[in-house]
């Protein structure tokens, strides 16, 4: 009985303990349930996103770059079909073997193979390795023939940048290449970048990246844990970049480039009313197509080491003393400020009796001297003595105001080119600030003939000439077509305006900044005087570019030569009086020429600069003359084309 009682007690203990355990179990199961609730109901969205991130992988498809065309819609930068070889890494068992086979098939050298290995290290296992982005047809067909032996190899028909006018345009259009880390920081590239996409490195390609780059497409695939594609879920098509329409006429550009062949220099041509840059040649030049797939060492060295510096865009990044091409502006300034009566006579007595100021002698370029000169003759024959005196009377600060107003000392094309130079228009303030020295009158004197501190780019000189030639109106130079401006109206307005009443607005002559398409002159007669003097310089006997003239009024142009010294001329030099050919290349003068054409009813301005070409009249003016004929011959075509286009718009 005792035993039985104990047993009952034991049974009770077991049952009680069991219930305690059961209660604990229920509690723990409730814990699990609430955890499930948290994961699957409260945090469901978070985990759904994570799950999609797991299973969905996006592949970006590269967009085609927008094309670049010239004024006549001729394609300057296109996308050409290229043959490429890609390697799908996760389809390869033995990378070494595959690379070895490919190496033998398409003939890669040791260096290229090493590069591929390096490239592969940076990729993820499901990525694609681009073996070559530009195979020859022969290589491509070989690959296709042996494709069954090459695991993971994928011959791809793709597009890549092609510049049909190669060397003729590189300084304007620029070129593309692989994106650098700095490139990737730019928002327009960052937003649209796809690995392998080429981006603009220079010129229009670089500054118009936003227009040209386009938008990538997205292919969404479901992938498994090892990254293998299972199925395509989604495809958003890529969008090609926009077309960029330049104002360049490729025919003229080509010809300008041809004229510069073998020389170092620049030719710029501009529409004097619209500000459209028709040509902007720089020589020597190089082939942008070589950069698309990465330039090889040899070619790069050749470009780098060329003493004529092909990499420099001389039209906007080359700085030159304007020399005598500056004289029309100096004359204009003197007239506008009323410093000098154009009939004032000054005698140029040659090297034996130079201009003297505080004991320093200033020589005219002409050994024998020009004799008695009035202003028109002084411009026409480019007499330095007259300009020394005129500059002295004018003063550097007034000159600098007019020079700046007509486009010197500032970027012509805004921020379109990151290498465009501002040049330098000196004044007394500038010298005190920059050099912490006071201005000497002697510096004013040589400034009057475009020497000394003054530095200009060829495009600035072209703009300056254009703005004098159009009657003294401010224009907006540009190289990308601007459809927002109705040029017909502007041309008509400027041509009809030509008002000759003097402006009496206060500070008018102190004001540098003028609104676009507004007059910059004080008196119309002053502009006309300068234009007439430039006509004389080209079309009258004793004019400095008389030899390059056209008698046919259709082609007749007016211009001003310039010869810019690259070093100080010593008395010994004057005595020797060597021909250009006899002087060491580096020490020869730069030859310059600015012109506008046709003289009656002008439409185009240009500047020509031949580095170390000698005198402007011999080296630069003849080129301008040839080019002017071509420009005028094409003018009608341009006019018709542009009009029909604006009508359409």
């Amino acid at each position: 009985m005792l035993n039985r009682g104990r047993n009952i007690e034991k049974g009770r203990v077991i049952t009680r303990r069991m219930f305690i355990l059961a209660a604990a179990k229920i509690l723990l199961f409730a814990g699990i349930s609430s955890r499930l609730y948290n994961l699957q109901i409260s945090d469901r969205e978070k985990y759904e996103i994570l799950s999609d991130k797991n299973r969905i992988r996006e592949w970006k498809t590269p967009p085609q770059r927008g094309i670049i065309v010239d004024n006549f819609n001729k394609v300057l930068a296109s996308n050409d079909r290229v043959f490429q070889l890609h390697l799908i890494l996760d389809e390869i068992n033995d990378f070494d073997v595959t690379i070895f086979k490919i190496k033998n098939l398409i003939g890669l050298d040791q260096f290229q193979v090493k590069k591929l290995y390096k490239k592969k290290e940076r990729l993820k296992p499901w990525d694609t390795l681009v073996i070559s982005d530009n195979l020859t047809w022969e290589q491509f067909s070989k690959i296709n023939l042996y494709l069954h032996e090459l695991e993971g190899a994928k011959p791809v028909l793709s597009t890549s940048r092609f510049y049909p006018y190669a060397n003729d345009l590189v300084h304007i259009v620029g070129y593309v290449g692989d994106a650098s880390p700095q490139d990737l920081e730019k928002p327009e590239i960052k937003e649209n970048f796809v690995p392998g996409l080429k981006v603009g490195k220079y010129g229009i390609e670089n500054s118009q990246e936003k227009m040209l780059i386009g938008n990538y497409g997205i292919k969404r695939y479901e992938v498994n844990a090892s990254g293998k594609r299972i199925s395509q879920i989604d495809y958003i098509k890529e969008r090609q970049g926009n077309k960029v329409n330049l104002t360049i006429d490729i025919e003229i550009q080509k010809y300008a480039q041809e004229l510069l062949k073998g020389k170092a220099g620049s030719i710029c041509v501009m529409d004097i009313y619209t500000g459209e840059v028709v040509a902007m040649a720089s020589s020597p030049t190089y082939d942008p197509n070589k950069f698309t797939h990465g330039i090889n060492q040899k070619d790069w060295k050749e470009i780098r080491n060329n003493p004529l510096k092909p990499l420099i865009n001389k039209s906007i990044a080359g700085l030159y003393s304007p020399g005598s091409t500056f004289k029309p502006l100096v004359a204009l300034a003197a007239l506008e400020y009323g410093i000098l009566d154009p009939n004032k006579t000054i005698r140029c007595k040659g090297h034996k009796h130079p201009y003297e100021l505080y004991g320093v002698k200033y020589h005219c370029w002409k050994k024998e001297g020009h004799g008695y000169m009035k202003l028109r003759n002084a411009i026409k024959q480019s007499c330095d003595i007259y300009f020394y005196e005129m500059a002295r009377l004018l003063g550097v600060d007034k000159l600098s105001i007019i020079a700046k107003r007509y486009g010197l000392g500032t970027n012509v094309l805004g921020d379109l080119y990151n290498d465009e130079k501002k040049g330098l228009v000196p004044d007394t303030k500038w010298k005190r600030r920059a050099l912490e020295q006071s201005w000497y009158l002697g510096e004013t004197v040589i400034n009057g003939i475009g020497q000394g501190y003054i530095q200009t780019t060829p495009l600035q000189l072209c703009l300056m000439t254009a703005q004098i030639a159009n009657g003294g109106y401010k224009i907006k130079p540009h190289i990308i077509k601007d459809d927002s401006i109705n040029y017909k109206d502007i041309i008509n307005k400027i041509k009809l305006d030509q008002s000759n009443f003097p402006l009496h607005e206060r500070n008018y002559l102190d004001d540098i900044n003028v609104e676009y398409y507004q007059r910059m002159y004080h008196k119309k007669s002053n502009i006309n005087f300068v234009l007439d003097a430039m006509f004389g310089s080209t079309n009258e006997q004793y004019g400095t570019s008389y030899k390059s003239r056209y008698d046919n009024p259709k082609y007749q142009f007016a211009g001003k030569t310039g010869t810019s010294q690259v070093r100080r001329i010593t008395d010994l030099d004057r005595e020797l009086d060597l021909d250009t050919e006899q002087i060491e290349y580096k020490k020869r003068d730069h030859a310059l020429y600015v012109a506008f054409a046709p003289y009656k009813n002008p439409r185009y301005a240009m500047s020509v600069i031949i580095e170390h070409g000698g005198s402007g009249s011999k080296a630069a003016a003849p080129l301008a003359s040839k080019l002017i004929k071509r420009i005028i011959d094409r003018h009608k075509l341009r006019e018709q084309f542009n009009n029909s286009n604006t009508n359409l718009a």
């Binding site: 047993n7 034991k10 179990k25 199961f29 955890r35 699957q40 759904e48």
Partner: protein
């Protein structure tokens, strides 16, 4: 009493059939069927190796369960120690002749099955302890003398299993044993003291853990520590379950599993797959099935007369609970990842065999619930 004893030993076959717990059988069939579908899904909806094997095993072991259910509970009682020692012997055999996989030596090759003795040991410990405490007087239970024996009986297999190494199974074996000691009525203070002792010795215990075990524990506390390494399983499992939502992604549509982000999806992480495809609703239903199963086992204990049957049933119910809880808590990221299969659901012969064996003993307790087992 005598009458009862005679009555108990003379069940007619009809009586036996009548006293079978059909609901329990139904639950086993239900969970078994779910497991077949789940394993079928792990293979991406193809009827191949795992599914085939699982079905064969389920049917073989289920038949075995039915047959063994009719073994007298007194027979189980008599052979309880034998069972334990056979299990121990097998564990020792593993030590010398075991076959290894992924760094652990846990199996004996029996040609038709790679037997994992540690799984059998889970049951063996329960039955052995049930017998031990069946005959101990309630007045003796608190004495140290009678406590030493079961502790030794528990430490030996646990130690052997840890050596394999298999921390999870070892913990589960220990858990089941301790549960029975608890049920037998050992004073609460012992549990409190040993709990405190465990807490104090925890730093020491961690220091002797294998590096991979340590990293698993560290990873448990911070899965993002190494998202592609040790933390990968927890993170991916949570993603799978969480993204399932209320209704799940649909059968055979669990992207996490069929795109192979889930590791061990047919064994330890089968619940993850199930939960991804059937969502919160499915998970709760499955959980409920397990709760019912545990309830039915407890019920058998309640209606059994012998302490052996009671202790066994309650102990086994607790063991099943522990397996389910540890497994699910593990895949939900509530416990560190230790190898612990989900009963019946997970693919694995030994685990299934031991569960079925355990269930057959429960069933025999039910059929022979009036059987009185002599204390001597």
């Amino acid at each position: 009493m005598l009458r009862e004893r005679i009555q108990a030993s003379n069940y007619s076959f009809l009586d036996k059939l009548k006293s079978i717990d059909y609901l329990l059988i139904l639950l086993i069939i239900a969970i078994g069927s779910i497991s077949v579908f789940a394993i079928y899904s792990t293979e991406g909806g193809k009827f191949s190796f795992y599914t085939k094997n699982h079905i064969i095993r389920l049917s073989v072991f289920f038949s075995l369960f039915l047959v063994l259910s009719f073994v007298r509970v007194s027979t189980w009682y008599k052979n309880a120690y034998l069972f334990y020692f056979v299990g121990l012997l097998l564990l020792i055999t593993v030590l010398f002749f075991g076959i290894s996989a992924s760094g652990a030596t846990r199996w004996i090759n029996l040609y038709f099955l790679n037997l994992q003795p540690s799984e059998l040991m889970k049951i063996a410990v329960i039955i052995c302890f049930a017998r031990y405490y069946h005959r101990i007087q309630s007045s003796d239970i608190q004495s140290i003398k009678f406590l030493i024996q079961p502790i030794i009986l528990l430490i030996i297999p646990c130690y052997l299993v840890i050596q394999q190494p298999d921390l999870g199974t070892s913990i589960l074996i220990a858990g089941s044993g301790i549960a029975i000691i608890w049920l037998a009525g050992l004073n609460i203070k012992y549990f409190v003291y040993s709990g405190l002792l465990l807490l104090v010795s925890l730093p020491f215990a961690i220091s002797i853990l294998k590096p991979y075990q340590k990293s698993r524990i560290l990873t448990f506390f911070n899965p993002d520590r190494d998202p592609l390494g040790a933390g990968y399983q927890i993170i991916q499992s949570k993603i799978a379950i969480g993204s399932g939502g209320f209704f799940g992604k649909g059968y055979l549509k669990g992207t996490q599993s069929y795109l192979e982000f889930l590791p061990e999806k047919h064994t330890d992480f089968i619940f993850t797959l199930f939960s991804e495809e059937f969502g919160f609703l499915g998970s709760i239903i499955l959980l409920f099935l397990y709760i019912l199963l545990i309830y039915r086992i407890i019920n058998v204990g309640l209606v059994s007369r012998s302490f052996f049957a009671k202790l066994y049933c309650f102990g086994f119910a607790t063991a099943i609970f522990l397996y389910v809880f540890v497994n699910i808590a593990m895949v939900l990221g509530m416990l560190p990842i230790v190898g612990a299969p989900l009963p019946i659901m997970s693919y694995g012969g030994s685990s299934l065999l031991s569960i079925m064996l355990g269930l057959s003993i429960v069933m025999s307790c039910k059929i022979y619930n009036q059987e009185q087992i002599s204390v001597y």
